[in-house]
């Protein structure tokens, strides 16, 4: 592919990835990222963290060579309350499928200072630590942990929180009311990342009987769409495999109201190609 076709990522109509309007006082928003088998969302999560730290997703927008050249000169943008000594972080990542080492390695390659982000590792020892405790207490302690002053940041990324339904044996409604809602009301921007392979929703009017677990899974993921201002869907090519394309990224409006924001979601569909550690976006 020629360099001409390469695209820069923008989620909002002001050509920004994370617009400043989202971080105004008393503003709270949710963005939902869905991905399928064979298309990992790690590059997109990294790009969002990079945007929060440097102001734009440099590694995604730049060519590989220039990214390497400019890596040493990257300067974090100054945000209110953010300082390099770690008092207030640019982002907090909570993952139920990756450990902290995974993120440190990936973000280290992007030259992001570990002091500018916080990782809550809920993969290692989560079951051992919480075995036998009532689910409501575990959810409450998780919310406290993620909203405590130590880890408070403007961007909170939750990677596959739907696993909590199975880990704690709670329903989708309980997870939304006791975990997602309090977090979303505490941070300016929350990004929920979910795995939606085999999601097949027959709807409330369908007569077919689904397994209880499946219903809860569908309810959680559909509920996240209604809460979000934007849905970023990553999926493989519908036509099969291609040498120069890994999949598509679709940016659409979510179910939440955005009329109070001065800017709109920049709906778009990109092709992306992941090679080794770099991902590039192209015109659809």
């Amino acid at each position: 592919m020629s360099a001409v076709q390469k695209q820069e990522l923008s989620l909002f109509s002001d050509h920004s990835v994370l617009t400043k309007a989202l971080f105004q006082q008393n503003e709270h928003h949710v963005i939902y990222v869905t991905h399928k088998l064979g298309t990992s969302p790690s590059w997109l999560m990294n790009a969002l963290i990079e945007t929060q730290v440097f102001g734009s997703p440099l590694s995604l927008n730049e060519s590989h060579a220039s990214a390497v050249n400019h890596a040493s000169s990257r300067v974090p943008v100054q945000r209110s309350g953010f300082s390099s000594n770690g008092r207030r972080k640019a982002a907090t990542i909570a993952s139920w499928i990756h450990d902290s080492e995974f993120f440190h390695t990936a973000l280290g390659k992007l030259k992001i200072d570990p002091a500018s982000y916080q990782i809550q590792d809920y993969l290692t020892d989560f079951v051992l630590k919480n075995h036998g405790k009532p689910a409501s207490r575990v959810l409450k302690s998780l919310v406290e942990e993620l909203t405590s002053t130590q880890s408070q940041s403007d961007l909170l990324l939750l990677e596959q929180p739907e696993l909590l339904m199975h880990l704690l044996n709670v329903s989708s409604d309980e997870l939304h009311l006791d975990f997602i809602n309090p977090l979303a009301r505490a941070v300016p921007l929350m990004v929920i990342v979910s795995y939606t392979e085999s999601h097949e929703n027959p709807g409330a009017e369908a007569l077919e009987h689904l397994a209880h677990d499946l219903i809860e899974q569908i309810r959680f993921q559909t509920g996240c769409v209604f809460k979000s201002i934007a849905v970023l869907g990553i999926k493989p090519l519908a036509t099969g495999r291609a040498k120069d394309v890994t999949g598509t990224l679709t940016i659409t409006r979510g179910g939440a109201e955005t009329s109070h924001l001065a800017i709109d979601i920049a709906e778009n569909e990109y092709l992306f190609h992941t090679q080794k550690d770099t991902t590039k976006l192209f015109y659809r």
Binding site: N26, E27, H28, H29, V30, T34, D173, E174, H176, L177, N181, A184, R185, T196, H199, E200, N201, P202, G203, A204, E205, A206, L210, H212, I215, E216, I218, R219, Q221, T222, G223, V225, F226, K227, V231, G233, K235, T250, T252, R253, G254, G255, A256, E257, S259, H260, E267, N268, E269
Partner: protein, 299 residues
């Protein structure tokens, strides 16, 4: 299809302005077009003095139009207590002229077993309940309650006015294609846009249901009824029918038709009476009123 004796847009505006006698308005939406656009229209059309109590199960930030913002909870009893603390007591509401609107942004969170009780407790002549139901959220039903109606069936049965919001599609094939994609949570571009389709079902006191489909634009707040092809062609035939029949002009011009459609017919007003079969009569200055009129309205 309902009768064409009045303008569907007027009926819709009356429902949105809470002027219709429907204490419970059900909004059915999907991930293709969420029902928040209807809430915005209701907040815009309703009288300024209306107190809006917003019960949030999924809304993260308090909307501008909400007077009170109540966080949703799993227990219907606790929720009811929280809502009722912002509402006047039944005694107070008798003397109060102001209207109250309770908005539930996702009624799916309330279990089917308690949803009926919650609605009957809240909806009253002075309090209108507006609840959004997401038809994309499947519901788990206990095997022993297999033959009991689902929440959606119960809500549809109870609501005098139902507003169904859908993404605007050009034809049936496009609608089916969109639905099959949304089932897999693959969101195509153009969803939740300002232009959407709204299906209004309004039940009259007689039990007759009127159903109209509108093409709505939330930016300019327009509601254009979508008429089927058959109705439109009938209208054209009518105008040709009168031509050359008499020396009088029996046709109506477009301007006259538009003016006629804007008239708020008395039967809309009659729906708000407590007794059936009432006659709406407005006394004019030249009318001769006879006290012993044998044909007087017995009510």
């Amino acid at each position: 299809m309902a009768s064409s004796s009045h303008n569907p847009s007027i009926l819709l505006r009356r429902v949105l302005a809470l002027k219709e006698n429907s204490p419970f308005i059900l909004v059915i939406d999907s991930i293709g077009r969420s029902g928040h656009c209807v809430l915005d229209e209701v907040a815009r059309e309703a009288e300024e003095s209306t107190t809006i109590i917003y019960v949030s199960f999924e809304t993260v930030r308090k909307p501008k139009y909400a007077t009170h913002f109540v966080g949703g909870c799993k227990s219907a009893t606790r929720l009811l207590t929280a809502i009722q603390s912002s509402l006047p007591s039944p005694e107070q509401s008798k003397f109060s002229a102001s209207k109250y609107l309770v908005v539930i942004d996702c009624v799916n969170f309330i279990a089917a077993s308690s949803v009926v009780e919650l609605i009957t407790q809240l909806a009253s002549p002075s309090v209108t309940l507006l609840a959004i139901y997401h038809k994309d959220l499947p519901e788990y039903r206990l095997p022993e309650l297999e033959n009991y109606p689902s929440s959606l069936q119960l809500l549809r049965f109870m609501a005098p006015s139902i507003l169904e919001v859908r993404p605007f599609t050009n034809d049936l094939a496009a609608e089916q294609d969109l639905e099959s994609r949304l089932q897999k949570l693959e969101m195509p571009l153009g969803l939740n846009s300002s232009i959407y389709k709204l299906i209004l079902t309004n039940r009259r006191k007689s039990g007759r249901a009127l159903t109209y489909t509108f093409k709505c634009d939330s930016q300019v707040h327009s509601f254009v009824p979508i008429q089927d092809v058959r109705t439109t062609s009938d209208g054209q035939e009518d105008s040709e029918m009168f031509e050359g029949l008499t020396t009088f002009n029996l046709n109506t011009s477009h301007k006259q038709k538009a003016a006629k459609d804007q008239v708020d017919l008395p039967f809309l007003e009659a729906q708000s009476f407590n007794t059936g079969g009432a006659i709406v009569y407005e006394f004019e200055k030249d009318d001769d009123y006879d006290e012993e009129d044998p044909y007087e309205d017995p009510f």
